[in-house]
Each structure stands twice: as C-alpha cells, then as structure tokens.
Amino acid sequence: MKPLTTDRSVLETEGLTKRFGGLIAVDRVNFSMREGELRAIIGPNGAGKTTFFNLISGCLSPSEGRVFFKGEEITHLPADQISRRGIARTFQITSIFPNITVYENIWAAAQTKKGFLNPLVHSSRLMDIRKRVEGILEIVGLHDKSGEIASNLSHGDQRLLEIGIALGTDPHLLLLDEPTAGMSVKETRETMERVKELSCKLSIIIVEHDMSVVMELADTISVFDFGRIIAEGPPEEIKRDERVQEVYLGGRSNDSEGRRHSHLLR
C-alpha cells in the first residue's frame, strides 16, 4: 500500500466497511488517493466497487470506518452535502432527468452550489451558470443536442449526459461508475478520450469491469475482490500480479467467475 501523502490527499478511507445483513460488501478498505490522480478500480461483479462509491458519495452510510475528503472527515454526511463539497458521481445505471432538455439537465446540476436559489430572477439571466453549462456541453460533446429532451437521446448520449450532469456540480473529485457500460467500441474510445482530457483538471476515480478500457488511462489501478483491495499499483504491475490473475483467470476452487472474466484481462 502506498504511503499516505496527507497534505495533497484528495480522498482517504480508513477501515471502510459496509455490511448488508450477513454479507460484507466492503470490508475494511483503506484507500488513499492524491490530488489530480486518475485512479481505476477494477474487479469482478459483486466485488464491492459500486458499494464503495455509494459509501464515498453518501448514497449509503458505512457500517464502520471513516472517509476523508481533502483532509476533512465526510463520513455519514448526507449525499447533497458531499456533492456541494466537491464530490460528484455518475451511476452505472443511467440516472438523468428524463423529461427536460439536455441543457436543463446540466443546468439543474450547475446551480446547486449557489447558496440561495432566487425565485424571482429568470434563469436565463444567470450568465455565470449559462457559461458553465455551455462549457460542459462542449466537453461531453452534446452541444448540438442541447435542446433535445433527455429521454430522446441515444443510450450512448445519455451516458455522456450522465457525465455532464456530474460535471455540472463543478467537482474536485469525479467518481465514474462504468461510464462506458453499453457503449459501442467507438463510443467507448471517444468517452475514454474525454475522461483523459478531464483528468488534467480534476481527480477521477473510474470503476471498470473491463480492465482493457482503463489499462492505458489510469495512473494507478486498485483491484477489488470480495469487498477488499487485493492489489494496487501501476497498470503494468497489476497486469502481472498473481492475485489479480487468480481473480481474473480463475485459480479459485469455484472458478466459474474467474473464467467468465478471463477475456477482460488482456
């Protein structure tokens, strides 16, 4: 495990645990990440990756352990407060605002940091938010679809809007939960390009099922299995790691899971 660089740390967890009845979804995870890093979290289905995101973003409350964001404790804070502090997330299953336009979707996210939402000013007069929304439309490449109702977008575009909404909150740390799920190969490549560009400006954690997607992209990869981090390091190292190969290529007594995922490790 990497030594903690507390002064520049953006996210840290201490013994983070989540139990659902008898099931331990996240098991005493000590995670740490520096400012500006692009981190990938990989692991087979049910390894606890999404639960880990839910704990950090406040969507779930941890059973044990603590979470620190930029040195401040955020454990047990409600999701809306965590968002306003600067952690944004996307969802594995697209979660957008279906019956309003693409523009309004991102707008909704872009105004939440304003402490007071003035009920007597017309939204179109708020030039600072307008500029931000337009900038984000440009980044996610939905500028020519800004007037469309979100539910009419293609699946790939809805995935991009999902990222756009998260960016709308102007985060320091962006949590991407399988952003390319269900995308075509071309869309996946384009989206990863966009993520790469974004990583120059903010810290990103990307959860991926498919290791090859993040191989070239990530600075560091953390591998989850059964709710624990079983390996962590630069992509090349992770690829060679025995325990990782075991998880992905199947060295377990019950290795159907491993074999199913062997194609993901290339």
Binding site: S57, G58, C59, P78, A79, D80, Q81, S83, R84, A88, R89, F91, S95, I96, F97, P98, N99, I100, T101, Y103, E104, W107, A108, A109, Q111, T112, K113, K114, L117, N118, P119, L120, V121, H122, S123, S124, L126, R130, E134, H143, D144, K145, S146, G147, E148, I149, I165, A166, G168, T169
Partner: protein, 330 residues
Amino acid sequence: MASLAGKPEDRMKLWKGERLFQIGFAVLVAVLVLAPPFLRSYHKRLLTEILIWGLFALAFDIIYGYTGMLSFGQALFFGVGAYGMAIPILRWDLNLWVALLFAVIASIAFAWPIGYFAVKVSGAYFVIITIIFSLIFFFIALDWRWLTGGDNGLTLTAPSIPLGNWKLSLVDPLTNYYFVLALVLACYLITRRIVASPLGKAFQAIRENEDRARVIGYKVERFKLISYIISGAISGLSGALYAATSRYANVDFLHWTVSGDAVVWTLVGGAGTLIGPMIGSGLLIVFEDYVSSWFKNYPIIVGILVIGVVITAPQGIVGLLRERFGRKER
C-alpha cells in the same frame, strides 16, 4: 434563448411556439379585461369563480406539475384561506386587505408544519398523508362550530376594498370581478417567474429524478417543503378570494372532493404548464354549468369527458398544444 436549441429549424419552432403562446396569452388577457362589462351578471359571477378556481388549480400545479408531489389535500389550505378571510371580517371587523393578508399567513402557518412532516415521505405515502391531514382538519372544522359555524358556515356582508380615500364595494359583480382578475393575474405572473427561476429549476429536477437531484447537491426535503408552502399560500389566497366573492365560508371547502377538483382540472389542462390547469378549470366549470342545466346526473358526463381527455392526451390540452407547436422553454 438561442443557446437552447442547436439546429436552426428547432430554434425556429421554439421561437414560433413561444410567439404563439404570447399572442394567445395576450388575447386571453384582453378578453378577460374587456368582455365582462358586456356580460350578464350571472356570467360575470361565473367568470369570477373560474378565475378563483383557476388560481387554486395553479397552486396545485406548483406542487404536482412542477415538483412531482401528488398532494391530495390542497382543499385544507383553500378552506383555511376562506376562513382566514371570513373570520377577521366578521368577528374583528378588519378591512379586506388585512383580512387577505391574514388568510395567506394562516394558510402558510398550516402548510409549514404539515409540509414538514409530509415531505419526509414520497409517492403513495405522500398522497395518503396529505389526504389524512386534510380529513383531520375537515372533521375539526365540522366540530368547532363556535369558530367555523359547522355545517352552516359563516356568512358575510359584502366587504369593501379601501383604496386611498374611497371605497370600492364588492357588491358590484364587476368590481368584484376586476378585483379577482388583478390578483389572479399577478399570482400567475409571479409563479411563472418562479418556475423559470433557479428555484423552479430545482423543483423540476426533483420532479424528474429525486435521487439524482440529491446526489447533485439538492437538499430535496427543503425544496419540497418550499414548494408545498408556496402552493399552500396560493391555495389559501384562492380560498380567501372565494370567501370574499361568495360571501360565505363553509366546512365543505375543506372536503377532499375540492382537492380532487384541482387534480382533475390540472390533468385535463396539462400538468406542469401553469396556464393549463387554469384553462382546464375554466373549460370544465363552463361545461359543468352547461350540462347541469339540462341533465341532473351531469357528473357522469363530466367524468366520461375527463377520462376521454386523459386517455387521448395524457399530457393535457396545453401539453398537446405545446407538442404540436413547439416546446415552450420553461
């Protein structure tokens, strides 16, 4: 807003839709201002009532059409507003403006604590809790005859409006009409601004996806409560106007069927459009008035009509027009 639509033809459609809406609205306002002096007294009264019920439906549209919370207890605030108007005038001999203010404050005083508990639940539970609250106060109002007059209600003499040195009496149906029109129009314009404001955008985000709204930083319960209070205050104002116009306040105003009317008018007119619920209430009240003159069991026909509209145009009349003529930016 040019930045809203990408393709030029979309922008054109949007612009045209917006223009059509503005022209239609101007014509409607012109008719409402100019026509009444030429109407018979009965029709002046009818039009006054339509405006008041339209305001009540508009209040419901804020909570349901914009924030996505199906409150089935808005009659409570209508009733509180009506008694909030009647009691100060009858018992304390206060003037109309003070009574009006009292009525609105009274409905906020009810909406705030009730909303505080009601917004903690959503979906069907919210519907049920709002019905229960309104039922509780319906029975309390029925029981407290010393305050509400029970079944008989309270009857007022026509209040007059003090305006500077002279007084306008609401005995005259035309004065009464313009008084109501001015307040309803003002409320409509203010709420139209609210729904286009950052606050209104927050309401709509919550309507569209509550969980996502929370994750992007909205304190969902707080905004739901604000929406509930705004809706309650406007419902109260409409109740107050109804009491001033009909010169009585009755326990029946708190009955759940009154809440149901707002739901039906809003669905027919188009939820989430503000003007739709007002148009819906106008059309249905006129229709009811017409059918009831020759058919005793008129609710059957009204019911069939409503079912027909809701099936053929689930987005309501205004929603249908909006789709047809380009979507108005909200």
